[in-house]
């Protein structure tokens, strides 16, 4: 009899090239995604050692972090150079690149799935911590550093220390207006930024099964914000119907063989996890962060917390520092906090479903005059589909700017930035100090809350607008 295994264990086992007790396993990498920021020094390392890229056919590159989201030339010379260096490196090594202006260009974690490159059963890495996004397909997907990028380019493998497994079980029906983003913010609120360090999280339960692929991606995306190595969801019919017919998905007889294999991946009955966290979905509310890490989060109905009432002195200390940076006073209702900017975008929430949700809220309404609102689709494909559905017109009529795809104000490496002291409601994944521009103050929310906040001028849920 074979032993019962979790999805994570199955994914791990099928990729071990070599292993020895006391040593990390050498894992084979099925797909390596590359972007301009974390790859130049890796390619340079290869050049200096005179090593080729082992599998250019399993390597895909895109330009996303630096790209301006307005048409025209790249004004910043350093950004322009980084984009050029990526182009040259891809050309030299025969790597498929989706450069700025390509119809399939976009944020690396948006294009992998939509091109059908991210599939169940795979190992996927990228020099980017939000690679956990692709785990939504039942893949083992995780972020790596530049030295590891070089290692994968040269060997198509990576030595990896075995990791613990954690089940995050979410059961029940989400209340009206509560989304996948609120689920993951609640999870991070429970675990804290370090609570998942060293673990592979599998999201399970009826709430997760009922989510679309977009929703599952939003959840897996932010696993890293709890410190987790990876997040994943078992593949099911939702996964298969999302994939069927996509450019790089298998077809014909290969599709049938792939399906048979994919159906064997979900966690076996009786398999055990090292840890379990249970969440009751029916009690969740829309969430908004108040601090400077994603674990510092509350519901929209709450007030800014009071550090003096926190038992753990370390927690109180970091809350105090966070509130000083954020310019917030304990006891203020979160709904009363006004924002200057609303950012709808990032690999967490820039997919078609996210844009639909925001457009639904602002349809026939106006963004508050004091608010700058930016909508940045995650990819060329998302942008075109949104335009076919007329979402761009709804957003623009309400007062949003409609931009070209890229990471944009998620990390402010391009011209889209907050000015010092400016406050944003952002659908991205990190509210770190300075993340959206030096001195900028970021609050993380769902697309629906971002849209309602844009209209109200202060934090609001769609139902507050009625």
């Amino acid at each position: 009899m074979t032993r019962s295994r979790t999805l994570a264990q199955k994914l791990w086992d099928r990729h071990v090239v070599a292993g020895a007790p006391g040593e990390p396993d050498l894992l084979y990498i099925d797909l390596h995604l590359v972007h301009e920021v974390t790859s130049p020094q890796a390619f340079e390392g290869l050049r200096m050692a005179g090593r080729p890229v082992r599998r250019p056919d399993l390597t895909v590159a895109t330009a996303d972090h630096n790209v301006p989201t307005t048409p025209g030339p790249v004004e910043d010379p350093l950004s322009a150079e980084q984009l050029e260096v990526l182009g040259r490196n891809c050309e030299r090594h025969g790597i498929r690149l989706f450069p700025r202006g390509d119809p399939d260009q976009g944020i690396v974690h948006v294009i992998g799935p939509e091109l059908g490159l991210s599939q169940p059963g795979m190992t996927i890495v990228c020099g980017d911590s939000h690679t956990s996004t692709h785990g939504a397909f039942g893949a083992l997907a995780f972020g790596i550093g530049t030295s590891e990028v070089e290692h994968v380019l040269a060997t198509q493998t990576l030595p990896q220390q075995q990791a613990e497994t954690m089940a995050v079980v979410v059961e029940g029906e989400l209340p009206e207006g509560v989304t996948a983003k609120d689920v993951i913010l609640a999870v991070i609120g429970h675990l804290g930024t370090g609570g998942g360090i060293g673990t592979l999280i599998e999201y399970r339960g009826s709430t997760i099964s009922a989510l679309s692929m977009e929703g599952r991606m939003t959840i897996c995306n932010m696993s890293i914000e709890a410190g987790a190595r990876a997040g994943m969801v078992a593949p099911d019919d939702t996964t298969f119907s999302y994939l069927e017919g996509r450019p790089f998905a298998p077809s014909g007889a290969a599709w049938e063989r792939a399906l048979d294999d994919w159906r064997s991946l979900p966690t076996d009955d009786g398999a055990t996890f090292d840890r379990t966290l249970e969440i009751d979905a029916s009690r969740l509310r829309p969430h908004v962060t108040w601090g400077t890490n994603p674990g510092q989060v509350a519901t929209l109905d709450d007030n800014v917390p009071d550090p003096d009432s926190m038992e753990d002195p370390a927690e109180a200390g970091s809350a105090r520092r966070a509130l000083a940076y954020m310019g917030l006073t304990p006891g203020t209702p979160l709904r009363e906090i006004r924002v200057d900017t609303v950012f709808l975008g990032s690999c967490t929430n820039s997919r078609i479903e996210d844009l639909r949700a925001a457009a639904e809220v602002v349809r026939g309404r106006r963004v508050a005059p004091s608010v700058r609102a930016l909508a940045v689709p995650g990819s060329g494909r998302v942008k075109r589909q949104a335009e076919e559905e007329g979402l761009d017109r709804v957003l623009v009529a309400a007062g949003f700017e409609w931009r070209e795809p890229g990471c944009s104000m998620c990390l402010a490496m391009n011209p889209d930035k907050l000015a010092p002291g400016e406050r944003s409601a952002s659908t991205s994944n990190r509210n770190f100090e300075g993340r959206q521009g030096r001195g900028g103050r970021t609050h993380l929310v769902s697309p629906a809350v971002a849209a309602a906040t844009a209209v109200a001028g202060h934090f609001a849920s769609p139902s507050d607008l009625d």
Binding site: V17, L58, L78, S79, Q82, S129, G143, A412, M413, R430
Partner: protein, 197 residues
């Protein structure tokens, strides 16, 4: 990478938890295509504050950083490690590190010494109280010591990583010795897996 066996130095106390890599090196700095010159960007935004610990003259030249839990969480940017090294740090002592940061460190020769939380707290207090306190991070014995303060604590490091640090081994070179096993694995991969070739 340079081998590293023992780091002995004064230490800088950074008494904060959840120090993310965006703070260690802000994104403005990530546009460079080189591996060097990131020291100036280390904690760039915090260094604007005159009172920030790195700005205090008594800590100049220290090679060990002692920090609170969850150091290096967030972005995968290895630039954070390059910035710490370029500034002059050879080891960081903390009760817990972000996974990717920890991996990145060991690949560039920065020692991430993960210690027990209580020990980490005592060490932070000791180096905060005495800027001249000499601290040793010993990779061979996997120990962090500050004898003048009576402190000694173990840190975790798997054997392979320890050997790589001690000998300054090139990771890629080690793996390429297994080229046959990789080739064999490739021959067994299912044919439906995506390829862009």
């Amino acid at each position: 990478m340079e081998p590293v066996r023992v780091v002995t130095s004064r230490a800088v106390p950074l008494d904060r938890s959840d120090v993310d890599t965006d703070q260690i090196i802000p994104s403005d700095w990530l546009k460079r295509v080189e591996r060097t010159g990131f020291g100036k960007g280390l904690f760039a935004e915090w260094r604007d504050d005159r009172d920030f610990v790195l700005n205090q003259p008594e800590h100049a030249g220290a090679a060990i950083l002692v920090a609170g839990p969850n150091f290096g969480v967030g972005s995968s940017r290895e630039h954070a490690v390059w910035a710490l090294l370029d500034y002059g740090f050879r080891a960081v002592v903390a009760p817990r590190f972000g996974d990717i940061f920890r991996n990145n460190s060991t690949r560039s020769g920065l020692v991430p010494a993960q210690v027990e939380p209580a020990f980490g707290r005592r060490l932070l207090d000791a180096v905060s109280a005495d800027a001249d306190l000499e601290v040793t991070v010993d990779v061979e014995r996997r120990l962090v010591e500050a004898p003048a303060a009576g402190l000694e604590g173990r840190f975790e490091l798997d054997e392979l990583t320890q050997r790589r640090l001690l000998e300054g081994l090139d990771d890629v070179g080690l793996t390429l010795r297994r080229a046959d096993a990789i080739k064999e694995f490739e021959d067994r991969r299912p044919s439906w897996l995506p390829s862009v070739g």
